[in-house]
């Protein structure tokens, strides 16, 4: 026996040492990190919090009771670390990429940042680890009792719980930032890992080589059956236990904390994958010898769970007992510290903060929130240890440590389907995760957790033995008649099985929303993104560019450019991108939220702004899947189609303008040509008249006459050009009156009679007998007819020149046809005959400018009529003037013969 004072003194000294280590490491890390404290060895040692006081004391007890079964508790983690280390690596990658703070954070984040899922996981975690905390209290209490001989277990347990709470609060909440790694705590835990390993090996060596006489002596006379124990190896219980321990190393909140959250470098996982199994081997190797020696040396009826402690005491090796106690104490404290930190992080982040943020005034400064966080975490730690104590109190201090630990294992195993499904199965949904967790948790509580109170809590002994209301099918430990398993296997099969089933079925039945899909893809394909060790040198530039690319993609090019230009301008940058300050990121997130919703915007922007390892391409690919982006893109497509139509119209207009422009150029060139010709004569002859003084009077008179003629020609040309332009531009509005086409024809023929007579042209007429009423301008109509008629006279090369003029009413149109036999218009010219300055036939010395027909056409159009050239017989030129008939009531016309 040791005195309580000495024990207390040693414990306090040990705790002070741990404090010193934690403090120094934290302090040094903040200034200049100590290299070896960041190493993979320290990381591996911190993972060894898996080996709690349950392992430290209970493994021996388990070996004494059940033979080799205790190995399963090490077998699972070993399999995971050696065979499934890539799963851990993926978790670590995801954890770092998404700044995961806890397993609840991971699961809720994966399923679309669901707050309800975070609360659910947190609740399950807290309830599930409560027995585990109680277990630590119990083992420390028991060991204390054994050493000092105090029998008031409850009081001892209370003070131990209180001490641990204080210890954890002082240790675990020193850092203000929840995301910050607890370097000091990890260092202290690593020290404790060494202490507990050394202690166990020391006791093992003592038992094997000092109490017994070497291994041969230990195993002498021990049958294989004794070692194998009652449970059959590789039977259902073995498989269940291996499965549970494998699950626990992944799903236990404290393991998640040290493996994922506290991980400094991903490659440390590789070291841990072989070093941690080695550590566990060290913790295991003397378990059986201690158990066997204990069984042979200790009086019957002594608790095998405490052989590690009682064996040295029985041999009066107090210092060794003290070391063993410290080993057990280390196991318990390291586990409690980390478990409480992990749980308090979850409680404060996922339960307290959301509530507080809703209740607090919106403009609470960040300092308030941080203080609130710290306070809530401190209270959470106290509450969790309080719960542990309560469990200890209510469960009455069950003797079998291992059994209590397994209850916790099954509890946290409920996270497995959602966790594994979440990082390997894109289609896993929030609904599936919630369904699985709720069902699994309920079955765990009903079949394992509540029965562990032996009828003292919620479920009565009667319900446990006979089922609720006497329905034996619903007996908690033999649900639906499944009674040939032991209660643990039964609980595992039901809770984890139904959990996985519900998870898969509900995931298959529901469709993930945009954010879920986004997060799912990011988690499942975390390796598809660029490597985690991206250069930090150009991080700032790359960040803004990435943000800009994202903004362009979601807001559209122009608005994104505008936004970034504005932000750059506000930073005083004239050209280029703004610096990625918090204000810029926040502004962008707000802008994006308008398009894709706040949650997605947050997810996207923080991923990029955080310099995370997810590629933009992926984000954009995923963003494309969201409904909002589809909608935006649909609108963009519509706009683009509209633009295409507008562009098409513009092209048509542009082509037309270009044609018109070319015509204008051609017209000006023609005008220039037509004007230069008479001016050449005028200039030349006037120079002759000015300079030559010897010319005859005849020549002088002839030259002056030419100048006069050419002046008139110039004037006429200018008049025509102006006239045709005004007609075509619609500036000259012609006064239209109702008149008879026949009468107009007769008057025109009278006007031109002198010209036809002198040219020897015969004019025939075939006029309709009735009046052909049209709406026209009398003078202009006559101008057109005289123009066409004079052309027929001028260009007529026939031996017996003839002109036929006829009128008719056809299909409501009045037609005036002027046909001559003068040689016709070549087909290739007939299309351009109305072009300005085109001359149908170049007969050499005609001086008529080519504006007559274009003017005639312009006049006809201005009178709502038309002038066309009809291709008929050879050597025949056929012009047709047509008007809409002005009177609807009219008898059919009868052609009449006549000669003008």
């Amino acid at each position: 026996m040791l005195s309580a004072n000495i024990l207390l003194f040693v414990c306090l000294g040990y705790v002070a040492l741990l404090f010193a280590v934690a403090f120094v490491v934290d302090w040094r890390t903040r200034r200049k990190p100590i290299r070896w404290l960041q190493s993979s060895v320290i990381y591996t040692l911190s993972i060894s919090i898996y080996c709690t006081s349950w392992t430290f004391y209970g493994a021996v007890g388990s070996a004494a009771r059940n033979g080799l079964e205790f190995i399963t508790i090490y077998l699972g983690p070993t399999l995971v670390f050696i065979g499934w280390w890539w799963l851990l690596r993926k978790l670590v990658r995801i954890g770092r990429a998404h700044r995961i703070t806890s397993i609840a954070d991971l699961i809720s984040s994966r399923y679309g940042k669901s707050p309800s899922l975070a609360v659910l996981v947190t609740t399950i975690a807290v309830i599930a680890i409560t027995p585990y905390i109680a277990l630590q209290l119990q083992s420390v209490t028991n060991s204390y009792q054994v050493i000092v001989g105090n029998n008031d277990g409850t009081t001892t347990a209370f003070w131990i719980a209180a001490g641990m709470a204080l210890f954890t609060i002082l240790f675990g909440t020193r850092n203000l930032d929840a995301n910050e790694r607890h370097h000091g705590v990890v260092a202290a835990i690593a020290l404790e890992a060494i202490v507990k390993l050394l202690a166990l090996i020391a006791v093992g060596v003592f038992a094997t080589f000092i109490v017994a006489d070497g291994l041969d002596d230990v195993f002498a006379g021990i049958s294989a059956e004794t070692i194998q124990g009652a449970g059959d190896i590789f039977g259902p219980r073995w498989i269940a236990l291996t499965f549970l321990s494998a699950t626990a190393i992944i799903c236990l909140p404290r393991q998640f904390q040290v493996t994922v959250v506290e991980n400094i470098e991903e490659r440390h996982v590789a070291t841990a994958s072989w070093l941690f199994p080695l550590y566990m081997l060290g913790m295991t190797v003397f378990i059986v010898p201690i158990a066997l020696v204990g069984q042979s040396v200790m009086p019957s009826g002594s608790n095998p769970d405490l052989y590690v402690l009682t064996l040295p005491l029985a041999e009066n090796r107090n210092e060794l007992a003290m070391l063993a106690f410290l080993g057990g104490f280390s196991s318990a404290t390291s586990m409690v510290i980390v478990a409480a930190i992990a749980a308090s992080t979850m409680v404060s982040n996922h339960i307290v903060m959301p509530v507080a943020l809703r209740l607090l005034p919106a403009k609470a400064v960040s300092g308030d929130v941080r203080n609130l966080l710290l306070t809530s975490r401190r209270f959470s730690i106290a509450a969790i240890l309080g719960l542990g104590f309560l469990y200890f109190y209510l469960s009455g201090g069950s003797d079998a440590l291992a059994a209590i630990g397994l209850i916790a294992f099954v509890g946290v195993a409920q996270f497995l389907p959602s966790l594994i499904g979440g990082i390997f199965w894109r289609s896993a949904t929030r609904a599936g995760a919630i369904a699985g967790l709720v069902v699994g948790f309920a079955l765990w509580a009903y079949t394992l957790f509540l029965p562990s109170f032996d009828g003292h809590f919620i479920l009565s002994a009667g319900v446990i033995n006979q089922g609720p209301f006497g329905i034996s099918l619903l007996r908690p430990e033999a649900l639906f008649g499944l009674d040939h398993f032991d209660p643990l296997v039964h609980a595992v099969v039901w809770s984890v099985g139904m959990n996985a089933l519900c998870f898969v079925v509900f995931s298959a039945l529901t469709t993930p929303d945009g954010l879920e899909r986004l997060q799912g893809a990011l988690f499942v394909d975390v390796y598809k993104s660029s490597g985690g060790s991206a250069s930090n040198i150009s991080a700032e530039v790359a960040d803004t560019e990435d943000l800009f690319v994202l903004a362009q993609r979601i807001l559209g090019g122009v608005p994104a450019k505008k936004l970034f230009d504005e932000m750059a301008a506000s930073q005083g940058i004239k050209t280029g991108l703004p610096h990625p300050t918090d204000a810029v990121v926040a502004r962008l997130e707000r802008e994006l939220a308008g398009s894709i919703g706040a949650a997605s915007a947050h997810a996207m922007v923080t991923r990029i702004a955080g310099g995370q390892t997810v590629s933009i391409t992926e984000l954009i690919d995923i963003a494309d899947e969201t409904q909002q982006v589809l909608e935006t893109s649909r609108q963009l497509e519509e706009k683009s189609a509209e633009l295409e139509r507008t562009a098409q119209q513009l092209r048509v207009v542009n082509d037309r303008l270009r044609t018109l422009d070319a015509q204008k150029d051609e017209f000006l060139s023609q005008v220039s040509h037509e004007l230069r010709t008479p001016m050449t004569s005028i200039r030349s002859f006037s120079e002759i008249l000015m300079e030559e003084h010897t010319i005859t009077d005849d020549d002088r008179a002839r030259f002056v006459h030419i100048i006069h003629d050419e002046s008139l020609r110039l004037t006429r040309l200018l008049d025509e050009i102006l006239d045709i332009n005004r007609l075509e531009a619609g500036v000259s509005k012609l006064d239209l009156t109702q008149l008879d086409a026949n009468a107009a024809v007769k008057k025109a023929l009278e006007t031109i009679a002198g010209m036809t007579r002198s040219a020897g042209v015969t004019v025939r007429t075939e006029l309709a007998t009735d009046e052909l009423w049209i709406r026209a301008n009398n003078d202009r109509l006559r101008q057109v007819m005289i123009n066409v008629l004079s052309n027929a006279v001028k260009y007529n090369l026939a031996d017996k020149p003839e002109i036929l003029v006829r009128t008719a009413l056809v299909d409501g149109f009045v037609q005036i046809d002027i046909i001559d036999n003068g040689g016709g218009v070549p087909p290739e010219v007939s299309t351009s005959i109305f072009d300005k300055f085109a001359r149908g036939i170049r007969t050499g010395r005609n001086h008529g400018a080519g504006l007559g027909l274009p003017i005639s056409l312009a006049i006809m159009r201005a009178m709502n009529g038309n002038l066309t050239i009809e291709v008929t017989a050879e050597n025949t030129t056929f012009f047709r003037l047509s008007f809409e008939h002005a009177l609807i009531r009219h008898r059919a016309p009868a052609p009449a013969q006549g000669t003008a």
Binding site: R676, T677, P678, T680, E710, R842, G844
Partner: protein, 125 residues
């Protein structure tokens, strides 16, 4: 012997003034008003100087010049081109086709007479 000038022009009044001026200057003047006839006359009895209008009926001046340059008899015939289109591309086309000189209408009498005189002198040397 006086130099022979062939006037290829379809504007009657311009022909009148040019004939008057050239005869007064002592040239032997002949006249053609249609493209093909100009070509035929120039090839059969090459003049000392050809004054060639661009806008001629049935065959334009450029085409006539191209054909003259292709014939050994007239490949070095001095040609003065006249045009009422004063644009730069017309001048370039004329020179590319092988015109020796190029004058835009309306011209000063002294300008065209000097030009013809220059070409005739070159021809006779």
């Amino acid at each position: 012997m006086s130099a022979r000038v062939l006037l290829a022009e379809d504007e009657e009044n311009i022909l009148t003034s040019l004939t008057f001026l050239l005869e007064r200057a002592g040239y032997d003047v002949s006249v053609e008003t249609e493209g093909p006839k100009v070509l035929k006359a120039a090839l059969s009895t090459p003049p000392d100087v050809l004054v060639l209008d661009v806008m001629l009926p049935d065959m334009d001046g450029y085409e006539i010049l191209r054909r003259l340059r292709a014939s050994p008899a007239t490949e070095r015939l001095p040609v003065l081109m006249l045009t009422a289109k004063g644009q730069r591309e017309d001048r370039e086309t004329a020179l590319r086709c092988g015109a020796d000189l190029f004058i835009t209408k309306p011209f000063a009498n002294s300008e065209i007479i000097n030009a013809i005189g220059e070409l005739a002198e070159k021809r006779l040397q």
